[in-house]
């Protein structure tokens, strides 16, 4: 019944922790980025930061979709709601603040039609139930989420359902990693690459990062032993000066990823510039619906524009997602900004770096 037990063996963890200390021996300081929010949560939940050698630092990256989605996207979503659209969304976007602090949860409380879905396909039933209304699925996410979200349009097309569309803010992980490396005040020695995204794009997708920027990339799973094994590999590669891509998560991730998901993405989407909190406008870092699929694009269909929007005052989420600071360095952290009353998106999402630090690491630091 406990499928994860083997990946949480304390004896193996102790051996890996000793391995980390041995591999990082010496006084060279090493800084690695875990790109994915679920890695951030795993580090917190299993207390893994305490196992890192003192000269090894782990910073969180731009892999939490809610955290990197600009407030302008929420401005646009709320505008669609105001114009009468039924909004369907993943739950973690519900409390993310728009430019003026409004949220989808607040809109729902005021009588707006906002439905939380576990699967994008649930929007189909909403569209069928309200044929006279436009149902808009708030389509955010990285490659992991993109293919299942596109299935909503595929199924709607097949069923002849016309009153459903996507407000897209799709993201590609590799351009974001490259942008972090190009940020002048961020010095990284390698990446712990996101496992679920890698099931789609494949481990080979990180080769350009390793080759062009000379940084090792290790794909690792979300279980604590996966994270420790991935870090050990990163320390070894970085100290040996080997900028290679290694796949610790080979039990799930293949070199080429999921060909069907990739084909679906190519069939429907085309790379496009996208706004990222903290990183700005990055070329080809997102995906938009191809011109011949424009009928599924809610922004075009209903005439709204998705801009960057305004950042909440004093909020340093942008610096957090770029790895420039750890969450407690933000002056709002734990004071004006808590999971109960979040100011910035990194505190909103359960996988946001600020929420993870608040939940697991805000006390006990000596």
């Amino acid at each position: 019944m406990r499928f994860t037990e083997g990946f949480r063996d304390p004896t193996v963890a102790r051996a890996l922790a000793a391995g980390l200390r041995a591999a990082a021996a010496g006084d060279r300081r090493l800084c690695f980025m875990e790109v994915c929010g679920t890695h951030t949560m795993a580090v917190g939940r299993h207390g893994l930061r305490a196992l890192l050698p003192p000269n090894v630092r782990l910073v969180s990256g731009p892999g939490c979709p809610v955290c990197v989605t600009p407030s302008g996207y929420l401005d646009a979503a709320l505008e669609l709601g105001r114009r009468g659209a039924v909004l369907a969304t993943f739950g973690d976007l519900l409390h993310a603040p728009a430019g003026d602090g409004r949220t989808l949860a607040g809109w729902r409380g005021a009588g707006g039609d906002v439905h939380v879905c576990y699967s994008p396909l649930e929007a189909l039933a909403l569209a069928e139930a309200a044929p006279s209304r436009e149902v808009v699925f708030l389509a955010i996410g990285f490659e992991t989420t993109i293919a299942p979200t596109l299935m909503l349009a595929v199924r709607a097309h097949r069923a002849g359902i016309r009153n459903v569309s996507l407000l897209t803010s799709f993201r590609r992980v590799v351009p974001a990693m490259e942008a972090v490396l190009a940020t002048p005040d961020v010095r990284l020695d390698g990446f712990l690459c996101p496992p679920h995204v890698s099931t789609v794009i494949g481990a080979d997708a990180y080769r350009p990062v390793a080759e062009r920027y000379g940084r090792p990339c290790v794909v690792a799973g979300f279980e604590p032993l996966d994270v420790l094994a991935g870090l050990l590999e990163l320390i070894r590669l970085a100290t040996a000066g080997r900028a290679e891509v290694h796949n610790e998560y080979a039990r799930v991730v293949t070199p080429k990823g999921n060909p069907r998901a990739r084909a679906l993405i190519e069939e429907w989407l085309t790379p496009s510039d996208a706004w990222w909190r903290g990183l700005g406008r990055l070329p080809d870092s997102g995906y938009s619906l191809r011109p011949d699929r424009a009928e599924w694009d809610a922004a075009r269909r209903l005439g709204v524009e998705v801009g960057p929007g305004a950042e909440p005052r004093g909020c340093r989420c942008g610096d957090v997602v770029a790895g420039r600071i750890d969450p407690p360095e933000c002056p709002l952290f734990g004071r004006r900004c808590t999971p109960d009353r979040p100011v910035g998106p990194c505190m909103v999402s359960s996988e946001g770096s600020c929420a993870a630090w608040y939940r697991y690491e805000r006390a006990g630091r000596t």
Binding site: R2, T4, P10, H46, G47, D340
Partner: protein, 339 residues
């Protein structure tokens, strides 16, 4: 219309003929032997020795039936346990039923039978009650409310003020089973090997540990918010903290697996038949032995201790991986309508 007469109608709550029939057919045969005999407006109760403990609780769990229990057993044990962890033995219960028009008599009967069985097991008598019916759509099936009067057991003097560094933290069995059983039922994951609610009276634990009562500083039944919420409420603002040992915390594998799959922390998942306690280290072993001698406490364990320093006012945990982390209060409405 209800030609077969197998559903609750608004008239069952109207105070007329159908109300009388409902009471006569369903309530009196189950509860009519004690103070309810003759259906007085208020129960006449005999004096019960010394000080009295009094509590109340409401039950809205959805779905009303789940592996290991139902809203009926929950309504009895919830109130019995609130009294027990205050060092009191429940003697009398009130039982209020709020029924939705259209509820089947089959559901009502199963719930009332379950109340009867749980009350007998816990040694408590339903002494008074009330039934209301609300129009369809204005409640979800049925809600229950119970209040309880209990007599204080000698020796217990429970207060977090008495907790000292070095004290031990005990739990009477695997944590989080109730929350995971209800979630499994709600999501239709329920299966033979799946999570089962621990719903039970914890009074046998309190009675078994009575000889060591003086060394027990604090007890709670970790219901909503689970062990994490109970311990955080205990530690908040104190000049000490609580350090748990993840490897020592008993967990049923079915609950742990579901919690993992749902991304939930079992420490945030409610228990309905457990006690978490802090006691003097000199009696910890004896309390554990007494608990393990009872049916509900067979898997009791020491899971942590009271510490001074970096974690004052908080709850922390040494993880199985050898790291340390904060054990926070659950946020928001993690598990709505769980009890």
């Amino acid at each position: 219309m209800d030609p077969k007469g197998d559903r609750i109608l608004l008239a069952h709550g109207g105070g007329g003929r159908l109300t009388a029939a409902l009471i006569a057919d369903e309530i009196v045969p189950r509860f009519g032997d004690g103070p309810l005999r003759g259906l007085p407006d208020a129960a006449d109760l005999p004096p019960i020795g010394g000080a009295i403990a009094f509590t109340t609780d409401a039950f809205v769990v959805q779905p009303p039936f789940f592996p290991g229990g139902d809203i009926g057993s929950l309504a009895v044990n919830g109130t019995v346990n609130d009294l027990a962890v205050c060092g009191a033995r429940a003697r009398w219960l009130s039982l209020a039923l709020i029924l939705e028009e259209g509820l089947t008599f089959d559901v009502l009967r199963r719930v009332l039978d379950s109340v009867t069985v749980a009350a007998k097991a816990a040694g408590v008598t339903v002494a008074t009650g009330d039934t209301k019916v609300v129009p369809r759509g204005q409640c979800d099936g049925l809600y229950l409310a119970t209040s309880g009067l209990g007599e204080r057991l000698p020796g217990y003097a429970l207060s977090p003020e008495r907790i000292r560094p070095g004290d031990r933290v005990l739990v009477s069995g695997p944590v989080g089973d109730h929350g995971m059983a209800v979630m499994a039922a709600r999501m239709q994951f329920a299966s033979a090997g799946g999570p089962r609610s621990d719903c039970a009276s914890v009074l046998p634990l309190v009675e078994a540990a009575a000889p060591m009562a003086g060394g027990i500083r604090w007890m709670r039944d970790p219901t909503r918010g689970g062990v994490a919420a109970a311990l955080n409420e205990c530690a908040r603002g104190r000049p000490w903290g609580i350090m748990l040992h993840e490897a020592a915390i008993p967990l049923h594998s079915a609950s742990a697996a579901l919690a993992d799959a749902l991304g939930l922390d079992p420490l945030h998942s409610p228990c309905e038949g457990r006690i978490v306690a802090v006691c003097d280290p000199s009696v910890a072993g004896e309390v554990l032995r007494s608990w393990r001698s009872t049916e509900v406490g067979r898997e009791a364990a020491e899971i942590g201790s009271i510490v001074c320093g970096a974690w004052d006012g908080a709850v922390a945990m040494e993880t199985r991986m050898g790291g340390r982390r904060l054990v926070d209060m659950p946020l928001g409405e993690l598990l709505p309508r769980i009890c």
